[in-house]
């Protein structure tokens, strides 16, 4: 299964035979007090730094979320999408729980975006999937319903199946345009939760055959040395079938672990990407050395 996202100038393919799709998570005000204050003043300048750092770090797509309290999220998301597209060609993931904000983001977007997200809640489905269809976008589907976020991998599979069924049959969205998020939970809250995520990824990717993504940094919430945990978790999830993640793209340790896993999984022919990254690092070190001398 190939999910293709695009901007007006570039595209990316997500799939099990492709290098893992790194979606940068940083453009999100949650937990960023200063950024929240700036957004309340309509100041989007921090986004430019976020874009540069994530692209530099290896992001292949960027998630854009403007979910701060006490802001006009729809207006901000539309403006943020336009701003980000003016400085980078990578395709975007338009992220909000506010339907009007998703619509504003989609309206501003040039290309085929990934919408984050729809859940197996009827009310949300009827609001969000028509938008996805109208804009010809792809969508992230979360396997939770009105009752709960299920822990049981089988239950997550069932909900994902139903949601994919509704999206394809009732709304005519191609199955390739649905990316299921099997849900990453904090390992600090319960040390068995990562294995449940692995099981859910495996079940969903083999039984439904769709591409998958995770809000990967969730796994290390509340723990020390989050980078190492993230750097181990994502390659493990890749081996379970994960094909993309909304993740920390600014930390070399994590991105490098993903690139190494690409090679090990046979998705980096003759190690060309791995070797090229090594050369680039060498060249950068030499340039830095020369500048010092």
């Amino acid at each position: 299964m190939h999910t293709v996202l695009s901007s007006s100038r570039a595209s990316i393919t997500i799939g099990p035979d492709q290098p893992f799709c790194i979606i940068g998570e940083r453009i999100n005000p949650t937990g960023r007090k200063k950024f929240q204050e700036q957004l309340r003043e309509n100041d989007l300048s921090a986004i430019e730094v976020d874009v540069a750092q994530q692209i530099e770090g290896g992001a292949m797509m960027l998630d854009v979320n403007m979910g701060a309290p006490l802001v006009d999220e729809a207006k901000l998301l539309g403006e943020a999408v336009t701003l980000v597209q003016s400085i980078t060609d990578v395709p975007l993931c338009i992220d909000s729980s506010v339907v009007e904000a998703l619509e504003a983001g989609l309206a501003a977007y040039e290309g085929k975006a990934l919408v984050n997200s729809v859940t197996m809640e009827r009310e949300r489905i009827d609001l969000i999937l028509p938008l996805v269809k109208r804009y010809g976008a792809a969508v992230i589907a979360l396997p939770n319903d009105e009752e709960a976020i299920p822990e049981d991998p089988q239950r997550r599979l069932e909900l994902a199946k139903r949601l994919v069924g509704i999206a394809t049959e009732e709304f005519g969205i191609p199955i390739a345009d649905i990316v299921v998020d099997p849900l990453a939970m904090p390992i600090g809250a319960d040390h068995t939760l990562a294995l449940k995520t692995m099981d859910a990824i495996h079940l969903i990717s083999t039984e439904i055959g769709v591409n998958t993504t995770l809000g990967a940094s969730n796994v290390s919430f509340g723990m020390p040395d989050r980078h190492t945990l993230n750097a181990v978790f994502i390659p493990m999830a890749m081996q379970a079938g994960l094909t993309s993640a909304i993740m920390d793209a600014r930390t070399a340790q994590i991105v490098t672990a993903v690139k190494a896993a690409d090679l090990m999984r046979g998705n980096d022919e003759w190690g060309a990407n791995w070797i090229a990254a090594h050369r680039a690092k060498q060249a950068a070190a030499q340039t830095a050395e020369a500048a010092k001398a």
């Binding site: 007090k33 979910g67 006490l70 729980s97 319903d145 976020i149 904090p186 600090g188 809250a189």
Partner: protein, 218 residues
Amino acid sequence: MNTEEILKGLYDETMVGNKPAVLELTQAGLDAGIAPETMLFEALIPSLEEVGARFERGDWFVPEMLIAGKAMAGALDLLRPLLAQTGVESVGTFVMGTVKGDVHDIGKNLVNIMLEGAGFTVIDLGVQVPPEKFIAAIEEHQPDIVGMSAFLTTTMPMFKANINALEKAGLRDKVVVMVGGAPVTQEYADVCGADGYAADAATAVRKAKEFVAARRAG
């Protein structure tokens, strides 16, 4: 073991989350005739307070806080009936729920465990809690504090809706309202008319205790 050793053991073993040892020591304390409130207020609660302080400083982490809270809750199961008999005033009663439209509960459950560990009686209403359910629970349990959790910018406005419903039911002055959840901020808590906000479980417990102390003093 003498009283001092038992109290010190309770303090130390609670801090490292050794639930079996805490239970054993609690029983040993009862057998030795130590008053339940002595164990609660001189060993268990101070131990959990230290855990919370270490967490707030960033020295301790979520799993350590969780197992300490669970160890403490185990001891409380033994002590609670006895404390009730002796008429010891409970630390406080806390009604908790994730607001309507929202099914996220990991953070809320973490706060519940820490509140119980701190000696609060917690009534957990679960997820997707509509205003009328909060009101019914407040009328039934007459808590000191009602806690509302929201994980989405779309469900945060339910804080205000719930607070309006409390006002309409004539209950707003009878209960402290605390709010929390990933996207929630102090500013948002102020704007929606809540009394308190906490960014994490340890801070939530500390603030809850401050609110109860202020209520009882006032």
